[in-house]
Amino acid sequence: MLAYANPQRFLRLARTLTPWTLGAGVLLAAVGVFLGLFVAPPDYQQGEAARIIYVHVPAAWMALFVYVCMAISSAVAFIWKHPLADVAAKASAPIGCVFTALALVTGMLWGQPMWGAWWVWDARLTSVLILFFLYLGYIVLWGAIEEPTRAARAARILALVGVVNVPIIHFSVEWWSTLHQGATVFRTDGPSMSTSMLIPLLTMALAYNVLYAAFLLIRMRTEISERRLRTIRLGLEAVS
């Protein structure tokens, strides 16, 4: 791991990995969508509307997972000053933001036919909306502070403070009465879902994870190149 602390070495590895992860992610997503739409049976209560689960739940998992990755990277940046940690956190934010937006939108499209409402202000929905704003705040913060080291510091603090929201989201369906159904996969007594639905769901979840890896590599390469460009410019200014 530490060998890749060197951005140049990381760039070389990232260039090799980018097409493979991108290809694998797209392929897995295609398989997942096929399984979800054609192979999985309709739900005995929710009928065909339950097929929204295959795009909703993986997006919601990724919304949380990407945030946790961002918070861990921020902690690593603070403690070990790893040069790629801030890059990874900054590159993750827009990806997590998109997954959160997708979780919210697909959730609304599921809520309307099942609950009769696009939106309710209950604990689960509200805490995910807060997550969305945390992502937005984090992105804006990087752009708002001009001095890079100060921007990095402020962004790290926001990412770490915001992580308290993650367990709140997970347990919100147990702590407060809510319309949102409880966990069916991450349960202490194992998943309470039939295999025919679990397999498409886990395929989509894997696809989203691999796509996150691919987008992360692309965005980290961009960020490293942007920093390099900044250094070159500063060097030119110093010469002239």
Binding site: G47, A49, I52, A101, L109, A214, T222, S225, L236
Partner: protein, 56 residues
């Protein structure tokens, strides 16, 4: 109703299922394409400024 019509109808939930899949596809495609284009643009600029550096 033919098989395809039944499939597209999604048991009457077509207005919810298809936008959910469509939004997912559109958002991830847009994120991927924009990220890729941005990366290519910045990498080209780095390559350009590095060759112009060597020219001095």
């Amino acid at each position: 109703m033919s098989d395809w019509q039944a499939f597209l109808d999604m048991g009457g939930y077509a207005a919810y299922v298809w936008p959910a899949y469509g939004a997912s596809l559109a958002a991830l495609l847009a994120l991927g394409l924009l990220s890729w284009r941005q990366m290519k643009r910045v990498e080209r600029r780095v390559a350009l400024s590095e060759t112009s550096d060597r020219g001095k």
